[in-house]
């Protein structure tokens, strides 16, 4: 009797823990509002397999929902196992295409892809996620930063909020004399790598650290995951961090306006301002291989272009050995590029592709054989 009651009590706690735990899970694709896309040529392999970058996972779940709606009986299974694993599984022939935060590396990886596909592999930058410089300073909602100042904050050269360098960009605003607390990602992440690449590219050498998957700025306190840094910034007065825009929005954090390399007016983060930067990005790949020169994104100089975004690729074969696979990959990517799928992206924290750039992707997708 005593034992039973004990078990019941433990069960109750366990059950409530499960319920509470469930609340913390990632936001999944909203089932509602998914509509079929007209004009996509369905057919081919019914179940595609793909794996890789977790940064594009939420976009992929939305694409897959639209794909299933558009092509009845066809689906794609995307496993967010990390970019490195995704590329390896694609090169090993276990998956039909890879999702990756970075393009195939020149040399060995490109050669292996050539072998796997018996044709060149293409890097298609399909999903862009803007990265916000989010901060928590009481009474300041419209902070303005530029590349150099941001870099000097994140490498510890600027230590207080009322530093002359920040004050010069924010005239007339009341900045506290408090020390700046930098919150960084303690786990390895593509966000950290891309943000540091931005700091390197946009600061004229002021950052002075290596851009890697781990934070090398040498200041601040680490927190785990995007949610971790967003929470830490929310709970720590006078702190600043870099995080995917969706986490900053959900956490109600203020996001800095960035003066881009063109030196014009400060640009707030929005789908339009990120789209403006994407439209001006340079492609370093040949033909339909749309590998990006990311420095041209980070150094975007067009007025109204927000320069900090994480680009994630789909890595595909230009000519699949199996025609069935090729037509299914084409159908999936065409669905993903359709307005129906693109307009669902902002609520998941990504930006819809601007028309000009989308045209290049469409051309490439249609050329997959």
């Amino acid at each position: 009797m005593r034992y039973q009651r004990r078990v019941a009590a433990v069960g109750l706690i366990a059950a409530s823990a499960l319920v509470l735990g469930a609340c913390g899970s990632d936001e999944n694709a909203g089932g509602g509002g998914v509509t079929a896309v007209e004009g996509v040529q369905c057919g081919g392999k019914p179940d595609l397999r793909s794996s890789g970058s977790s940064a594009q996972n939420n976009a992929m779940t939305r694409f897959v929902a639209t794909y299933q709606q558009t092509c009845q009986g066809q689906t794609l299974n995307y496993t967010p196992s990390g970019s490195g694993a995704g590329r390896n599984e694609f090169l090993g022939g276990q998956t039909d295409f890879a999702g990756s935060d970075s393009a195939l590396k020149d040399g060995d990886e490109t050669n292996r892809a050539q072998q796997r596909c018996a044709s060149p592999a293409w890097n298609l930058p399909l999903v862009f996620g803007p990265v916000a410089v989010a901060y928590n300073v009481a009474g300041v909602t419209d902070l303005v930063l530029d590349g150099t100042t941001t870099a000097r904050i994140f490498n510890g050269q600027i230590t207080t909020w009322n530093d002359p360098a920040i004050a010069a960009l924010n005239q007339g605003k009341q900045l506290p004399a408090a020390p700046i607390v930098v919150n960084f990602r303690s786990d390895e992440s593509g966000t950290t790598e891309n943000f540091q690449k931005y700091l390197v590219a946009a600061s004229n050498g002021a950052y002075g650290k290596e851009a890697a998957q781990t934070f090398n700025g040498g200041v601040g306190a680490g927190a785990r995951g995007s949610q971790g840094v967003a929470d830490a910034t929310k709970n720590t007065p006078n702190s600043i961090t870099y995080v995917e825009a969706s986490f900053a929005q959900r956490g109600g954090l203020a996001m800095a306006q960035i003066i881009n390399a063109g030196g014009g007016a400060p640009v707030a983060l929005s789908p339009e301002s990120v789209g403006a930067a994407i439209n001006n990005v340079q492609v370093s790949g040949q033909g339909n291989d749309l590998k990006l020169d990311l420095n041209s994104l980070y150094q975007a100089s067009a007025p109204g272009a927000y320069p900090i975004a994480l680009a994630t690729y789909e890595i595909v074969c230009s000519n699949y050995a199996d025609d069935q696979t090729a037509s299914a990959v084409r159908a999936f990517l065409s669905t993903a590029l359709s307005p129906n799928a693109q307009q669902a992206l902002p609520e998941a924290g990504y930006v819809p592709l601007p028309d000009q750039f989308k045209q290049r992707l469409t051309t490439a997708v249609n050329a997959i054989q």
């Binding site: 706690i13 366990a14 735990g21 490195g84 020390p179 303690s186 306190a221 680490g222 927190a223 709970n235």
Partner: protein, 349 residues
């Protein structure tokens, strides 16, 4: 509580037959003897006897074999990485495995953070557990003590991820004034010196308090069980000599339960050393190594491994983390050995 004690008994029996909580252990071990006497002349009972004996010794050997296999696995996986390591494994404070061709990893900082957080947790939890156990066994009637004991035991059933979230979201802000006072007034003492984090939340201090709450039920459960087994005549003898309640506790209960209390504390320390998710969430990562202050941040062995687990793809960097796991494994053994020495290995009853 009896079911918990018997659960633990088999694993302890091989190490410490005479520990206080081991009274039930001895029962289990010696039980076959009278049965053997009875079974003579009955072949069916004799076979049952042999099967039961085989099962029990098999279970015992299985545990030993499993521990040995874990140790062997850790060693085999760790050695190639240790050979490829370019830093001193024991004294280097950096743990850099990003480049498989140039591994630089050492455990100094992990050891400092692990020990500091666990010992701080133990320092908080031990006196509180002792108080709770004495209160429940000596000061309250059974009617009151039983529901009380349930509540304490329920603390052990809360998942550690919940402790982690609670620790960083609720406890850390609540502890901030205390942390500020300590660092402001006792900053000259090395434990409260300014740390390597720019903030006073999410430090080893915060993590230690969370760990203390987590190990409290384990220590309390064992201690309470031992105290409640204090022989009646010891207590009555003390009372007959005119001892007050406090003197009874000091002269009869505490000496009898001392080794059980220490054994329980070591179980708690074992959990604190190996705690992963709560520590990972609560203690913030720092950019410089710890300087032995409670207001430092960093990784413990377990939290570092958990933090990097999603990136394990190449054998050499993975081996580096397994080497860290091996040290934690050895550390736990050392802690147990020390506990045995401190406890004296016998019940003073």
């Amino acid at each position: 509580m009896t079911e918990r004690t018997t659960e633990q008994a088999p694993s302890r029996s091989s190490q410490d037959e005479s520990s206080a909580a081991g009274s039930s252990t001895i029962d289990t071990v010696t039980e076959p003897d009278p049965a053997r006497g009875r079974s003579q002349g009955s072949p069916i009972q004799g076979r049952g006897e042999r099967i039961f004996r085989g099962l029990t010794s098999g279970s015992g050997l299985l545990v030993v074999a499993a521990v040995a296999a874990i140790g062997l696995f850790l060693l085999v996986q760790a050695v190639p990485s240790l050979l490829a390591n370019n830093a001193n494994f024991f004294t280097s404070p950096v743990f850099d495995t990003r480049d498989a061709a140039n591994l630089n990893f050492g455990i100094r900082d992990l050891l400092v953070v692990t020990l500091l957080s666990s010992l701080f947790a133990l320092a908080i939890a031990m006196p509180i557990s002792l108080g709770i156990a004495l209160f429940l066994t000596q000061y309250t009637p059974k009617r009151v003590s039983r529901p009380f004991a349930y509540i304490i035991d329920l603390l052990a059933a809360v998942p550690s991820i919940i402790y982690g979230l609670w620790g960083i979201a609720v406890l850390a802000p609540a502890l901030l004034p205390i942390a500020e006072w300590l660092s402001g007034n006792l900053g000259w003492f090395f434990l409260f010196a300014p740390g390597n984090l720019p903030v006073l939340t999410g430090t080893i201090f915060t993590g230690g308090v969370v760990l203390a709450v987590m190990i409290l039920p384990i220590i309390t459960a064992v201690t309470r069980e031992v105290f409640s087994q204090t022989p009646r005549f010891h207590i009555e003898a003390a009372q007959a000599l005119g001892a007050t309640r406090w003197e009874v506790i000091r002269m009869a209960v505490l000496p009898y339960g001392r080794s059980g209390y220490i054994a329980g504390s070591m179980l708690g320390l074992g959990r604190a050393l190996g705690e992963t998710i709560a520590v990972l969430i609560v203690i913030r990562a720092a950019t410089t190594p710890s300087g032995f202050s409670l207001f430092d941040g960093g990784y413990t062995f377990a939290s570092l491994i958990a933090s990097a687990a999603s990136e394990f793809s190449q054998p050499l960097p993975t081996g580096a983390y397994i080497a860290a796991g091996l040290v934690l494994f050895v550390l736990t053994f050392v802690v147990n050995a020390i506990a045995r020495v401190v406890a004296g290995g016998k019940v003073n009853g």
